[in-house]
Symmetry: C2
Subunit: 334 residues, 2 copies
């Protein structure tokens, strides 16, 4: 999946800013790709971009209108279709992360065929993959893993990409989820791939590269999550990371949407190494990313310090403290 820049972010008429989380993520990490936002009457979200219509966006050189909002049920409301068709007729590709496929809306499919533009459903991969081969590829790779889903793996990966680039390293974020694909302009929703091809998709996502180049691969799920561990394991084998960072939310007691207790950081480290060795014998843990959003500053600093000491690893909160200690450890790997 490849998405052309620059973007116009379509926010529709969503009722709160949370519904525009995807669009906000794009603005946070790729402000330079965003020419503006398009809001319908009544829209309560605001990503702080210039408001513009389709004609202005086209004049500004926009190549893709990104539907950067979610609405209940993941379907496209009927009253958004006219604007999407207008953007198509102006020559823009359309990209969404909704469950409903753009091509399943007849007006959109017809307009796209007439205009010769791409309809990109990030949630539905049309890419064909090979099965994973397990062969070692040149270039270096880092994977974020977790003690649960939704503990900050995407944010940590993007913060590491930025931190490594700022430190003069050659690093690229590799997206495995919808928002990440919009942010990197390329990637695959790994959880939407057919099961046989999880590892193969991860290999495709992170191809051979220069020996000093780092792919920072966005992790998914957890090896200990009873719903999604298969995805996490296939991604680990396919990404064949040299280094990994464990992401953790210290106030959580149960995993997301299930009754399973949150995994132990030490178990995640051991299991990631045990499996990761299959495709990269040199795999090593380079840090802990602790999501301390639920804690005050003192409590946050205490737990970061405690966990770092307990496991003998650089520990930080990518949002509260930045990822410098982990970047330093990665540099030491050479």
């Amino acid at each position: 999946m490849e998405i052309s820049q620059p973007y116009l972010l379509f926010l529709g008429d969503v009722h709160d800013h949370l519904a525009a989380k995807t669009a906000q993520g794009i603005v946070d990490w790729r402000r330079e790709w965003c020419e503006g936002q398009l809001r319908l009457e009544g829209c309560k979200a605001d990503c702080g971009l210039p408001d513009m219509g389709v004609a202005d966006a086209r004049a500004a050189g926009v190549k893709t209108m990104v539907v950067g909002v979610v609405n209940p049920g993941g379907v496209l409301p009927d009253h958004w279709i006219a604007t999407i068709v207008e953007a198509i007729e102006a020559g823009m590709d359309i990209a969404t992360g909704l469950h409903q496929r753009l091509r399943d809306v007849p007006e959109i499919a017809e307009a796209a065929d007439n205009a010769g533009v791409k309809l990109i459903d990030v949630r539905h991969s049309t890419q064909r993959f090979a099965t994973g081969k397990g062969t070692k590829r040149p270039g270096k790779r880092l994977l974020t893993v977790g003690t649960d889903c939704s503990v900050g793996k995407k944010y940590t990966s993007l913060a590491l990409e930025k931190g490594m680039r700022d430190a003069g390293m050659n690093a690229d974020f590799r997206a495995t989820g919808q928002t990440g694909v919009f942010i990197s302009g390329r990637g695959v929703s790994i959880d939407a791939v057919v099961a046989d091809f999880i590892a193969g998709a991860a290999e495709w996502l992170s191809p051979a590269n220069d020996p000093d180049h780092w792919d920072v691969v966005e992790g998914q799920g957890s090896l200990f999550h009873p719903s999604f561990a298969g995805v996490s394991l296939g991604l680990l084998h396919g990404a064949q990371p040299d280094a990994f960072v464990v992401c953790h939310e210290p106030t959580r007691t149960k995993m997301r949407n299930v009754e399973t207790p949150i995994a132990d950081i030490g178990d995640v480290i051991d299991m990631t190494i045990a499996h990761g060795r299959l495709t990269n014998p040199d795999i090593t843990c380079v840090g802990l990313a602790i999501n301390t959003k639920a804690l005050d500053d003192d409590a946050a600093k205490a737990i970061i310090s405690d966990l770092g000491e307990k496991y003998g690893l650089p520990a930080c909160d990518p949002i509260r403290t930045g990822v410098a200690p982990i970047v330093e450890r990665i540099k030491q790997l050479g």
Copy 2:
């Protein structure tokens, strides 16, 4: 996926018996479901069933014509279509394990719509699954796992179902691959499920049951196979087995289609327990199924005895020696 019995096995005009492996598997394990075989001119396969045409099969009460053959590329040859349409017009469902979908052949789709019969593409699941929940379900479960793909997990599972039933136990084979689905008349090609739903599909496959009922779940891949381990792990979490049997081919040095060395039996036992505990704390290994096809009788007996002693487990070759020692161990579990 549910397939109605009895079956007519369509063998087409394949060039050797190996191409009818699926049909032969059905005959081996469910002879009582098979009314006959339908062979076109030049067919070199023979499953030993009465040859019959569509009209005779219909008169015999056949409900489904199973295309039980593979041909290179997995597509349906044009000259098979007329017979398939004839069966549809006689009111039979059609089931295949080919890559090509029956519905993508216009004549077949149209005939099926007119006749109101089902087209069942076992390789393509249309069933919608929930994500796995990890909650313990009543009933007992056994899973076959492996040191590689294609080491005899399906055969072992079917032999265990038979052995357990013969021993008076209440046991049902649960299919996770194409041939298995034809043999059990129900199941899911787990490797064709969308990655997010692997564990959920395994939970659907093996629902809550009587406390003394055993599901014998067909395993897939290996936790140590770099292409398919994600499937194996999701299946393990979803199946939440009380007992597992390790299937192994002792003459193999590398895993199928990759350069990875074959996994160690002890590592497979340890890793299966480490992960299986997440959804069933009582998981235990009840035996080794050694595929000794490549060995002579003395060598086979020696390696079965050696491996059984080394790991302190009942060991056998389901084909050469039967599975009685493993069934005995399962009975002891209560």
